[in-house]
């Protein structure tokens, strides 16, 4: 195995570590917002490392391009989604428990 393989394996391992850390955070942390924080780390960083590690091994330019397109999309999507969830949570807690969102 050459150095690029080793580097790939290290990066993938780091990525997987972040995934596991994210899940542990999702289980252990006390409230919605902190759990959200943990999850976003897993999403963004974990997937990022895995993509980086694998892109070292990409077989073709097209594959590399797709891999490198994929991560920013995932980053954008999960960050925005987390923001939206957090916003909804805050709105909800301001209105008090039991209130329905669509009731104005």
């Amino acid at each position: 195995m050459g150095p690029s393989e080793w580097l790939s394996m290290v990066m993938v391992s780091v990525g997987v570590f972040f995934f596991i850390a994210g899940s542990v955070g999702l289980i252990r942390l006390p409230d919605v917002l902190t759990r959200l924080h943990a999850l976003t780390k897993a999403d963004n960083v974990g997937l990022g490392f895995i993509v980086l590690g694998l892109s070292l091994q990409a077989g073709s330019l097209l594959e590399l391009m797709k891999l490198l397109l994929l991560w920013p999309l995932a980053l954008l999507a999960s960050s925005c989604a987390c923001y939206l969830v957090a916003e909804a949570t805050l709105l909800q807690s301001r209105r008090g428990p039991g209130a329905r969102r669509h009731v104005r």
């Binding site: 391992s13 594959e63 999507a77 989604a81 987390c82």
Partner: protein, 91 residues
């Protein structure tokens, strides 16, 4: 290397399984949404790892589709079912 990638894929899947505990446990709807998101990115990671391990480049396409669809579903979650119940454990 192949074996390593399969094992890593299994590890990501395992962490997704851990996250599912949150879905079942709750207590708020936001938690369940988060877990669904985790499955989205976890699924993508598994697909990418499998793409390498199984030697099938086009699995990256499947991952791309999962990313886009997961984003849409996340928005659907928030827009359709923002947390209706009280937060911080009151159910």
């Amino acid at each position: 290397m192949t074996e390593f990638m399969f094992l890593m894929a299994a590890a990501v899947l395992g962490s997704v399984a851990l996250g599912l505990w949150r879905v079942v446990r709750g207590p708020t709807r936001a938690d369940a949404m988060m877990a669904a998101q985790l499955v989205g990115s976890g699924g993508v990671a598994v697909l990418l790892l499998l793409s390498h391990a199984m030697g099938r480049a086009h699995l990256v396409d499947v991952a791309l589709v999962v990313v886009l669809l997961a984003a849409m579903v996340s928005v659907a979650f928030v827009r359709r079912l923002g947390p209706v119940r009280g937060d911080d454990g009151t159910e």
